[in-house]
Symmetry: C2
Subunit: 251 residues, 2 copies
């Protein structure tokens, strides 16, 4: 059945206590750091985290809170902005493919190749045939990463309500340490809210590797859900610390 | 119907005169240079030339004779050798995708992503399931380049007889200016001739973008056929010299 985002809550369930959740989140963030260390040591798997969502859905904060305990070696965050001239002179996956994780590496995409079937579609810069082909290419591309480089791909749609977006955007105007995030363009994009919503629903429906939809109106709940998903997925890889390799007898 | 390479001649037809063919080849090589210049000027299309074939099938000579008239700007040749450690830590198309042509560029691959379903298969380094998936990925990848970056992909299988290979390899032992090409490993690979032949046939059958099979026992015939295919394909792009952009009235 096609997904209907307006039926999915953007808020935490009532019976979840905020302080309890925060405590659990902190423990899980530490566990993610341990599992990341194991990923680097073992060098067999790669991990790609994709963060998508409307403007002000909390992608930056998620990176800080979920991955903030990880060591920098073997971790990389890539923010995707408007393509350069050289990037525009190539297919849309060209710049993306260069940045995917190596074995033993975890890479976080703040926005991603999905922008090329979202913003470009909403503004009518590409036709629907191109959208179809790109979605097909994305599925083939993600499958390639998965089977040919043991890549665990975790995609998060940060699910924000329209009211909460207004609050978050307003904070950027009034708080000095958030001014740098303000962009008049975000208020213009907000007028296309319904079109973006529909484009997201379509993309989520047609993705072969499934999306995790995370309510983000309360940031603490976002972190609680994301850390849960990531810990579970990393545990499931069954990674092992490499055994000692030595020719001496240490007994 | 599946292709049977042993039914396709590796030599020139009897009624083609060598001197005539060479003259025509020279004219076509000049025409390729003109069309390449137009490609660069127009900046709308990209061209990817893939050269595959058994050892000593004449890939280097083809690059010299077919593209030797082209200007260096907007032309790039990439030789694919054994992957580096970093390349091995990624999917097999990672290093390939980085090197595909930009709009307004022609790139020649001397060997290519096809090695990953040929040499690795012949030696049993990957299983048949991985071969199937890789062929699927290659088809999706080439389709992406074609539709999303106007890439003309011309793939040549340089079709060499086993006897002629022996002669070519021997020349590398006896001629001083060919010593640098000699490699004991080529004689070992020659023992897998039939397996390589079968792997090539399978890849040619399953490629969505078709291959051009060129008999190369006589090098002059190789150049004659390749220049014909390339001139035709470039002419078919219908490229136009950009019109003059100026605000002054020059009349």
């Amino acid at each position: 059945m096609p997904i209907n985002l307006s039926e999915i809550p953007t808020t935490a369930p009532d019976d979840l206590d905020k302080d309890d959740a925060r405590k659990i989140t902190r423990e899980r963030a530490k566990r993610i750091a341990e599992l990341h260390q194991k990923l680097v040591a073992e060098g067999k798997h790669s991990v790609l985290i994709v963060l998508q969502g409307m403007d002000a859905s909390g992608k930056d904060g998620a990176m800080r809170n979920v991955f903030g305990e990880c060591a920098p070696f073997g971790l990389r965050a890539v923010g995707w902005k408007k393509p350069t001239d050289l990037e525009f002179a190539h297919d849309f996956l060209w710049r993306i493919h260069k940045e995917v994780p190596a074995k033993g590496e975890m890479v976080i995409f703040n926005r991603s190749h999905y922008e090329d079937v979202l913003v470009q579609r909403v503004h009518g810069w590409i036709d629907e045939e191109r959208v179809d082909r790109r979605i097909e290419s994305i599925n083939a591309f993600e499958k390639l990463l998965a089977y040919d480089n043991n890549t665990l791909i975790l995609k998060f749609y940060l699910h924000l309500s329209k009211d909460q977006q207004a609050e978050e955007l307003m904070e950027r105007v009034v708080e000095a340490d958030k001014h740098y995030k303000h962009n008049d363009g975000d208020w213009e994009e907000r007028e296309h809210w319904d079109k973006y919503r529909a484009a997201y629903e379509d993309v989520i429906d047609r993705s072969e590797i499934p999306w995790h939809i995370v309510g983000v109106d309360q940031r603490w709940y976002r972190d609680y859900v994301m850390t849960e998903v990531i810990v579970d997925a990393l545990e499931n890889l069954g990674m092992q610390w490499p055994t000692l390799e030595t020719e001496r007898d240490w007994s």
